[in-house]
């Protein structure tokens, strides 16, 4: 009797453990605060939706820290299954052949179908290889957009500009009305990278770096870009533009306090701005130059993508693929879009949000996605540049010098191109 009973108990225990033995996968990310909480919520939803896989998200600090931890872990064979890598770090991970399994391969291998056209145009190429195959899975995507202080416009009796020419026309009136016409929060992302995308100008040789790492060179001495910064400098001298350094928040604060008329921020700033802005605000696209032929194309996506690290078992890879599928489902995309302000990355999710009436209630939330949906140009698909975080640092340094009067715009871009190209050449050697 006892024997029978214990056998039954044993069988029960065994079956119970086997049915609960989920495959564990980990996800390292660089998000904190509210955005970090949303990641936990998404993971919880995934774990509740199925029982075969158990996903554990781990915050590794900032984007840069997440990438550095991921690299260190990979070198010692302790890499997570999923690593979040930001836009500027994309070249580092994608060019390290063998560090990641392309998301598209992973998903197809797991038996799912993968349709590139299901993704909105602006996000489709940035983390893909030159043939368009998805290497990273776009996750949190944002676009640089222009926020508008509605009170300022009313007081000055002007309309929000679509082009920089229109901005030049309204700036004096805004200044007269007692406002700083323009502030921005990231000159590299908003006025350099996305200057090239919005105005459809080539950023670097070798198809913006997509085709090869060897001999890729920056084209930042483009006369149009120099013109943009000459204008910014002139606007600053005339009081149409104010610059508070490279820190994001120092510049945003002026807008939140209602002192500035326009602020170039991120579509992802929307959630926070709703709480901090002391005046009614709306938003529109990042302006472009009407005088540049072919301008007005979509912007690059900012934000980050998820990469499936190599060196993991098939079982775990299957779970990662399942998670990627789950993540791109319209419901989860819509949830994430609403909770964070990052744009929905699939067309189906965008339609769901439209149908639900979300944009009627919050029109600002739609601006970023609309800008990414604008027709693409030859040069608005993305860029793939090695050591790009360091190149950004050079830009930040030189831009600071331009506005403090230590250098001229022309000299600054000569320096950026020279030092940037040296870094690109060094990067090509590391890949050799």
């Amino acid at each position: 009797m006892f024997k029978k009973f214990s056998l039954a108990a044993l069988t029960f225990a065994f079956s119970a453990t086997s049915s609960f033995a989920a495959t564990n996968i980990t996800w390292w990310h660089g998000m904190a605060g509210r955005n970090g909480e949303v990641i936990n919520e998404v993971s919880k939803k995934f774990n509740e939706a199925q029982s075969a896989c158990a996903l554990t998200p781990v915050s590794k600090g900032t984007y840069e820290e997440a990438l550095a931890s991921g690299i260190a872990a990979f070198r010692s064979g302790e890499q997570p299954n999923i690593l979040q890598v930001f836009d500027a770090g994309a070249a580092t991970i994608i060019n390290a052949k063998g560090a990641v399994i392309p998301a598209e391969d992973l998903i197809i291998k797991a038996g799912h179908t993968f349709d590139r056209n299901a993704f909105i145009d602006g996000v489709r190429y940035f983390y893909a290889d030159s043939e368009g195959k998805f290497v990273g899975m776009p996750f949190n995507s944002s676009a640089p957009i222009m926020y508008i202080n509605d009170e300022a416009l009313k007081k000055a009796g002007v309309e929000a500009p679509k082009t920089w020419e229109e901005f030049e026309a309204v700036a004096p009136k805004l200044k007269e009305a007692g406002y700083i016409p323009l502030v921005q929060s990231q000159l590299t992302w908003q006025f350099t990278e996305n200057f090239f995308s919005r105005n459809n100008i080539q950023f670097a040789t070798n198809n913006n770096g997509y085709d090869a790492v060897v001999d890729t060179e920056l084209k930042v001495t483009d006369p149009n870009l120099i013109m943009m910064f000459d204008k910014l400098k002139a606007w600053k001298d005339e009081g149409y533009f104010a610059f508070y350094g490279a820190g994001w928040n120092d510049n945003q604060k002026v807008f939140e306090e209602g002192k500035a008329a326009f602020w170039i921020g991120s579509s992802g700033s929307f959630g926070g701005l709703q709480k901090t802005a002391q005046m009614p605000f709306s938003a529109t696209f990042l302006p472009y130059w009407g005088s540049i032929k072919g301008a007005g194309t979509n912007s690059f996506i900012g934000g980050a993508a998820l990469f499936a690290m190599s060196g993991k078992s098939d079982e775990e890879n299957k779970c990662v693929a399942d998670f990627f599928q789950f993540l791109t489902s319209p419901e989860i995309q819509y949830f994430y879009h609403k909770a964070t302000g990052y744009v929905a990355i699939t067309k189906a999710a965008y339609e769901l949000a439209q149908k639900d009436g979300y944009y009627k209630e919050k029109p600002v939330a739609e601006v970023g996605i609309k800008q990414l949906l604008l027709p693409a140009g030859e040069w608005s698909k993305g860029y793939r540049l090695g050591f790009y975080p360091q190149i950004r640092e050079i830009m930040e340094r030189e831009y600071g010098r331009i506005f403090s009067g230590e250098t001229t715009v022309k000299d600054a871009f000569d320096t950026i191109e020279k030092e940037g190209n040296e870094l690109l050449a060094r990067f090509a050697k590391t890949a050799g």
Partner: protein
């Protein structure tokens, strides 16, 4: 952020000076030994096995080897390579990483700033700490309260000190900025190179004063009353008494603090700088250690940042030798 400094290849240079600090103790011991060599011999026979001393030393040696020598060797090795961060490909480039760094005007500018910054922080932190210690030493009533007030700042972690400092110097709400505006000085931290440098020095000095204060105060209290009284009889000028009697007696403490403060300014101010530049150095001044962090941890250029940390190691090495050879000679321990 302190974890980042700890991870830095360069902070091993910092540990290097700390071992230097330990050597400082060893020097003293050797000094004593030459006077009474027999005592050392007497101690030696107490170990029953010749291996026992090594066994006792083993944990310390293991720590030094694992956390200092081994990573140093790795840093030296990777400084000759250009390496893919994920470890797939690497190219031997000889001295290219070093020549690239040393040819870069940017790097030399950072080195110059680091030298000036270290000199200023060390000088002001030491002199203000000494001044406060001398004054607090003279206070008779309520001296415990004064001392506590002067010491507590030391309990603040560097990044927090950086944060508090940042608030004082904030472009929009900083009280020091408001104050300076009264005198017609518009401080713009993050925009103006000089203003940012100024606030970095102020916050770094402020953070280090209590440490120096504690050591100077205990040094002062270790000076025998009889010596002070004898000096008071011989000389009426308080300043001269301090200069010729008290200060030479404080020299061992001051020398120790000099090394600690130079190390602090070179390495431990990382947290302060990181918070002050808010993750974006742009055209703001930074120190060599911060540059190593930027290139290695943010830029993923392992070869270049290894070369930089080897250069830092050499700087610290030279500095330590200099301090012991030329300055310590003037210090009298007894």
């Amino acid at each position: 952020m302190t974890t980042a400094t700890d991870l830095l290849p360069a902070s091993r240079g910092g540990t290097g000076t700390k071992t230097g600090g330990r050597r400082f103790g060893a020097f003293r011991f050797f000094g004593g030994q030459s006077n009474s060599g027999g005592e050392g011999a007497a101690k030696r026979v107490q170990f029953s096995s010749p291996f026992l001393p090594y066994l006792f030393l083993a944990p310390q040696l293991a720590i030094i080897f694992i956390f200092f020598y081994w990573p140093s060797v790795q840093a030296i090795q990777s400084s000759f390579y250009l390496e893919d961060p994920f470890g797939f490909g690497s190219t031997f480039v000889g001295m290219t990483n070093y020549t690239d760094v040393l040819k870069s005007g940017e790097y030399l500018g950072i080195a110059r700033f680091t030298a000036v910054f270290t000199a200023l922080v060390t000088f002001f932190a030491l002199s203000i700490g000494l001044l406060l210690a001398v004054k607090a030493d003279g206070v008779i009533r309520g001296n415990a309260a004064y001392k506590t007030l002067l010491i507590w700042v030391y309990a603040i972690a560097p990044p927090v000190a950086g944060l508090i400092g940042m608030m004082f110097f904030d472009q929009h709400i900083g009280p020091i900025v408001e104050l300076a505006r009264w005198f017609g000085w518009d401080i713009k931290v993050g925009l103006n190179y000089f203003d940012t440098a100024f606030s970095m020095v102020v916050v770094s000095v402020w953070k280090q004063i209590p440490y120096n204060f504690i050591f100077f105060l205990s040094g002062l209290q270790g000076i025998p009353v009889s010596v002070r009284e004898a000096a008071a009889i011989d000389c009426r000028s308080g300043f001269r008494r301090f200069w010729t009697v008290i200060l030479p007696l404080l020299a061992p403490t001051a020398f120790f603090l000099l090394i600690i403060n130079v190390t602090y300014a070179l390495f431990d101010t990382f947290g302060v700088i990181d918070v002050m530049v808010k993750d974006k150095a742009a055209n703001n001044p930074i120190t060599l250690v911060y540059k190593v962090y930027m290139d290695g941890f943010r830029g993923n250029d392992l070869g270049g940042s290894s070369a930089q940390s080897v250069i830092l190691m050499l700087i610290v090495f030279v500095l330590t030798i200099f301090q012991f050879r030329f300055i310590e000679r003037r210090v009298h321990y007894n």
